[in-house]
C-alpha cells in the first residue's frame, strides 16, 4: 500500500494539454471583455463629444426646411449629394444634422429624467430610511404596487391624455416612472448606514438631522445610486424615444430620434434612410451604455457578479 506524493508533478513544467487549454480560454475571455469595453467607451465618447459640438460640426440647421431638396437619398446612392451625407427628410432637412441634434436632445432627456427621478427617489429614500421605516415602507410599498399595475407607456399615455404632451411633461413622466428604483435602493442603504457608529458620534456631537443626512448619509448611499443611474440613463432614453415616437413626448419640429423614426415611418417605402439610420444609432447608443453599465455594476456591486 503506497501513499506518497511526488514533489515534481503539478508544477508549471508539468502543465499538460488540458491545463494549457484552460489558460488559453481564460486569457481569451479577458481579451474579449476588454475589447468590448474599449469599443463601447470609445463609441460613447464620440457620441458625447459630437452631441456637445453638434452646432459646430454640421453645416446645416436641423430645422431648416428646403423643400427643393426633399427626400434626397444618402450621399453614396444614385441621386444623393455629399452635402447631405445621410439624405434629407420630407421637408428637405438634413438627416445627419437632425440625428446629431437628436442625440444631443436624447442625452439631455436621459440626464434630466434621471436627475428628476433620482431627486424624488433619493429624497424619499433617505427620509423613509432615516425616520420612520414602518409608515414610509407601507405607504411607499402601496404606491409601488399601484405603479407596477400601470405599465409605464400606458401611464404616459394617460398623463399626456390629461395634461397634454410637452418636453417638461416628458421629463416628469420619466422621472415619476423611475423614482421607485432609487427609493428602494437608497432606503435599504440608509437603513444600514443608520446603524453605523459614526452616525451616533455625529448625533452625540450635536449635529442636526439635516446636517447628518447631508454630510453622512447622502455620500454613503452614493455607490448604489450610481449603479441605478447607469442602468436607467439608456433605459429612459429608450422610453423617451418610444413616447416621442407615439407623439406623446418631444413635439415636432424638434429633432429627436424617436420622433424622427415616427416621421419617417410613413415614407418607409420611398425613403428607408429616415427610419433606418436614427433607429440604428439609438440602438448603438443604448447598447454601448448597457455594456458599460453592466461592467460598472459588476465592479461596484460584487453581489451581482455571476461566479466565473
Amino acid at each position: 500500500m503506497k501513499v506518497r506524493t511526488r514533489p515534481d508533478s503539478g508544477t508549471a513544467e508539468a502543465a499538460t494539454a488540458s491545463t494549457r487549454r484552460l489558460t488559453r480560454a481564460a486569457a481569451a475571455a479577458r481579451r474579449r471583455t476588454r475589447a468590448t469595453l474599449i469599443m463601447s467607451a470609445g463609441f460613447l465618447a464620440v457620441i458625447v463629444l459630437v452631441s456637445v459640438l453638434a452646432p459646430w460640426i454640421t453645416w446645416h440647421d436641423p430645422l431648416d426646411a428646403e423643400l427643393v431638396n426633399r427626400l434626397q437619398p444618402p450621399g453614396w446612392l444614385d441621386g444623393g449629394s455629399w452635402s447631405y451625407p445621410l439624405g434629407t427628410d420630407s421637408t428637405g432637412r438634413d438627416l445627419f444634422t437632425r440625428m446629431l441634434f437628436g442625440v444631443r436632445l436624447s442625452l439631455l432627456i436621459g440626464l434630466a429624467a434621471v436627475a428628476c427621478g433620482g431627486i424624488i427617489g433619493v429624497t424619499a429614500g433617505i427620509l423613509a430610511g432615516y425616520y420612520d421605516e414602518k409608515i414610509a415602507a407601507v405607504g411607499f410599498g402601496r404606491v409601488a404596487d399601484i405603479q407596477q399595475a400601470i405599465p409605464f407607456v400606458v401611464l404616459a399615455l394617460a398623463v399626456v391624455a390629461s395634461i397634454g404632451p410637452s418636453f417638461r411633461n416628458l421629463i416628469l413622466i420619466l422621472g415619476v416612472g423611475s423614482w421607485l428604483f432609487y427609493y428602494r435602493i437608497v432606503r435599504g442603504e440608509v437603513l444600514k448606514i443608520r446603524e453605523e457608529s459614526y452616525i451616533d458620534a455625529a448625533k452625540a456631537m450635536g449635529k442636526s438631522d439635516a446636517g447628518i443626512l447631508i454630510s453622512h448619509v447622502l455620500p454613503n448611499s452614493f455607490a448604489p445610486v450610481i449603479v441605478i443611474v447607469t442602468l436607467f440613463v439608456p433605459r429612459l432614453i429608450m422610453f423617451a424615444a418610444a413616447l416621442s415616437f407615439l407623439g406623446l413626448g418631444v413635439q415636432p419640429p424638434r429633432a429627436e430620434l424617436g420622433l424622427m423614426i415616427s416621421e419617417g415611418r410613413g415614407l418607409i417605402q420611398q425613403a428607408w434612410w429616415l427610419t433606418v439610420f436614427p433607429g440604428a444609432l439609438l440602438a448603438g447608443i443604448v447598447l454601448a451604455m448597457n455594456t458599460l453599465g453592466d461592467w460598472l455594476r459588476e465592479r461596484l456591486d460584487p453581489t451581482l457578479r455571476v461566479r466565473q
Binding site: M1, K2, V3, R4, T5, R6, P7, D8, S9, G10, T11, A14, A15, T16, S18, T19, R21, L22, T23, A25, A26, A27, R30, Q308
Partner: protein
C-alpha cells in the same frame, strides 16, 4: 472495522499523481498538486485538511464532477476495482457513479433537490441506472430508508426535503447513495453541518453499513480528532499535497509533520492539552510560497525550506511525511 482486508489484494481505488487545476479570472490555479490515494475494500481512509487544502477538489476532480471547462484533471494512474480508467474523464466514470461509487456531500439540506420528493430522489439510481421496475424500486426505496434508520419510510419517501429534520435529511441522503450497494463510498464532510449527537449517529450508521457490505470509505473532513475514532488510515493535506499519511494510530499518536502537530494542538481535547491555534492562514493557491508551502506558518522553518519543496520521507514509526525534518530518521521514498 476491518483493517486486515485493506492490506489484501482487494484494492477498490488506486490513484497516483493526481493534479487538479481550476480556471480563474487571473489564470489557472493549481488546487491539487500530485496526490496518491488508495482505498481497500472495507477500509476507511480519512483525507484531512483545512478548507482550500484541495481535499474535496481531489475527490470531485478525479471522479469527473467538475465541468471540463472549469477544471483540468490529470493522473498518472487511476484504477477502480480492477479497471484502469483515466482520472476525471466523465465518460469512463458515468457507469460507475451511483452504482459502484457513491458520494455523500457535506450539507444534506442543499444536497437534496428542494422541489422533488425524497423518495423520488432515492429512486433515481435503481430506476434510471439499474432499470428496475416501478414496484421493485418502491420496495427498495422503503427498505433502504428503513435501513438507514428512518422510522416511517412511507411518510419520509413522500415528503419534500424541507419537511425533514437535519439528521433525517442526511440519513435520506445516505439512502440515495447506499441503495445500489457501492463498493466505494466517498463522504465529503458528511457530518460538518450536523450537531455532535447527529454526527456520532451518522458515523455509526456508516460504520454499520460498511461492516455489512465491505464498502471502502474515503472520508473527507477538516476534523482530525473526529477521524481518529474510526479511520484506518489518515492522509493530511496542505496546499494541494499530502504532507503526512499513515495508519491512524501512528499519525494521531506520533504526528511528525509540523502541520499535523499544529492541527492536533489547535482543537480542544479530552485530555486537556492546551489549545493552540495555528498561526497565519493557509496560503492562497494562486500565490504559493517558494519551497515548502507550510514554511510561512512553521516553527521549524529554515533556509532550505524556503528554497526546495521537501520530498516525502518514510519514518520508522510507519507514516510518511513531506518535510525536511524527516530526513534525519526517515528514508526518502
Amino acid at each position: 472495522m476491518a483493517p486486515d482486508t485493506a492490506t489484501g489484494s482487494s484494492q477498490v481505488l488506486a490513484v497516483e499523481g493526481l493534479t487538479v487545476s481550476f480556471r480563474a479570472v487571473a489564470g489557472v490555479v493549481p488546487a491539487v498538486r500530485g496526490v496518491d490515494v488508495t482505498v481497500g475494500a472495507g477500509e476507511t481512509v480519512a483525507l484531512v485538511g483545512e478548507s482550500g487544502s484541495g481535499k474535496s477538489a481531489s475527490v470531485l476532480g478525479m471522479l469527473g464532477l467538475f465541468h471540463p471547462d472549469s477544471a483540468a484533471v490529470e493522473a498518472e494512474r487511476f484504477k477502480f476495482e480492477d479497471m484502469e480508467l483515466s482520472a476525471g474523464r466523465r465518460e469512463d466514470l458515468q457507469d460507475l457513479l451511483g452504482t459502484r461509487i457513491g458520494i455523500i456531500f457535506q450539507d444534506p439540506q442543499s444536497s437534496l433537490d428542494p422541489t422533488m420528493k425524497v423518495g423520488k430522489q432515492i429512486a433515481e439510481v435503481p430506476r434510471l441506472r439499474l432499470g428496475l421496475d416501478r414496484e421493485t424500486v418502491r420496495r427498495k426505496v422503503l427498505d433502504s430508508l428503513a435501513e438507514v434508520g428512518i422510522r416511517d419510510p412511507e411518510w419520509c419517501a413522500s415528503a419534500y426535503p424541507h419537511e425533514l429534520s437535519g439528521g433525517m435529511r442526511q440519513r435520506a441522503m445516505i439512502a440515495t447513495v447506499m441503495i445500489a450497494g457501492p463498493s466505494l463510498l466517498i463522504a465529503d464532510e458528511p457530518t460538518t453541518a450536523l450537531d455532535v449527537t447527529l454526527q456520532a449517529q451518522v458515523i455509526d450508521l456508516l460504520a454499520t453499513l460498511q461492516e455489512e457490505r465491505g464498502t471502502g470509505i474515503l472520508f473527507i473532513t477538516h476534523d482530525l480528532s473526529l477521524v481518529s475514532e474510526f479511520a484506518d488510515r489518515v492522509m493530511v493535506m496542505y496546499a494541494g499535497t499530502v504532507v503526512e499519511s499513515g495508519d491512524t494510530e501512528a499519525v494521531v499518536n506520533h504526528p511528525s509533520h509540523p502541520y499535523t502537530r499544529a492541527l492536533l494542538e489547535s482543537v480542544p481535547r479530552l485530555d486537556g492539552g492546551q489549545v493552540r491555534p495555528i498561526r497565519g492562514r493557509p496560503p492562497d493557491p494562486r500565490d504559493l510560497p517558494s519551497g515548502c508551502p507550510f514554511r510561512t506558518r512553521c516553527d521549524h522553518a529554515h533556509e532550505r525550506c524556503e528554497q526546495v519543496e521537501p520530498p516525502t520521507f518514510r519514518l520508522p514509526s510507519g507514516q510518511t511525511i513531506r518535510c525536511w525534518l524527516g530526513e534525519q530518521d526517515g528514508e526518502p521514498c
